[in-house]
Symmetry: C2
Subunit: 206 residues, 2 copies
């Protein structure tokens, strides 16, 4: 295809963000996309904590020294970052730049607050909000994880309620019904495919 | 689901328009969508010409008397209409209203000029522009149909070139490469699926 032909319709690679309240299944969706062999670059988060047994550098996390984190933060080289229990976590921009430069769509999961940060830094990011079918279903799932005290559970549900109000800040909303993960994953794949057909492509600058 | 719950995410039915220059395969895409049993209402065009042998009222066309056409035109009850060789053709709005009211997505094929009319009357319509891979491919297809004189062919290609300039007026552009109809159909299906996940749904008023 000629470069300046109207038939040159190659669309640029996307930066896809999967977000939503705790318990909606963000990790499960990402995991299933990997299992299906989707041609995506799956963002690997960086952390300065020690690797646990079995964890692989570059697969589970990028394990970096703390000074490296502080440097990236200072140089605004982190797309998103947080300090959890005194340990740094974050997404290096360079990783995303390289994947996009290779022509690959990039996908990452972030919480709702992190998605707001990404939207601000990269307005052309494709933002997908994942939701359960109902609040009752979300509560059931969080309860089933068994990780929370009743107080923590109530707090998470309050947070989820507030986060749900931000749906309209996202481009798409995908329902992830209990036991029907593949339906949600099909929606995500359709959204990516459709976005590559848009006449106004998203050109990510990072 | 409760009516006013943020979890009530049922999206309204879509009015989908497949358009593009002559020879890009609009009818083939519609035909394949039918063969795949997609849950769509396929718009049936109305005409005032006589049915040809084998043509079925309500399937191939709605065969209507001319006075009925003139009434619909006068009452602005045609979404799109044209007079071809002295015969009327058009799309009655009522058919689309009823299909949308039943909750079904509605799909129709129109030429590029007709798509401009639909866009004006129904800004919330979902407009898909179908293209060949290149102008050479389009020329080859039109030649293969064998229906045109060299002058007509040149005219059609001129028209296609002008129509290509209108791509940006559409929401999506789908490439229909020679011999890969199913790829184009997959794109159309993905677009419809994705559009139902939009946080700003298209609410068609007709």
């Amino acid at each position: 295809m000629e470069e300046h032909s109207p038939y040159n319709l190659n669309s640029p690679p996307l930066l896809i963000v999967i977000s939503g309240p705790a318990g909606v299944g963000k990790d499960s969706v990402i995991q299933r996309l990997k299992e299906r062999g989707c041609a995506l670059h799956f963002v690997v988060t960086a952390t300065d904590r020690e690797p646990r047994p079995g964890e692989v550098h570059g697969v589970d996390y990028f394990f970096l020294p703390t000074f490296e984190f502080l440097r990236m933060k200072r140089e605004q080289e982190l797309l998103e970052h947080a300090v959890v229990y005194g340990q740094h976590k974050g997404v290096p921009k360079q990783q995303i730049r390289e994947a996009l430069a290779s022509g690959k769509d990039v996908i990452m999961r972030v919480d709702v607050q992190g998605a707001a940060t990404v939207r601000q830094l990269v307005p052309e990011a494709l933002l997908i909000f994942l939701v359960a079918t109902s609040e009752a279903e979300l509560e059931e799932r969080l309860r089933a994880r068994g990780a929370d005290s009743p107080e923590q559970l109530a707090k998470r549900l309050d947070a989820a309620r507030e986060e749900m109000a931000q749906v309209s800040e996202f481009d798409y909303v995908v329902v992830n019904p209990d036991g029907e993960l593949d339906r949600a994953v099909d929606d995500v794949i359709a959204i990516i495919q459709a976005e590559h057909c848009r006449t106004e492509p998203r050109v990510v600058k990072l």
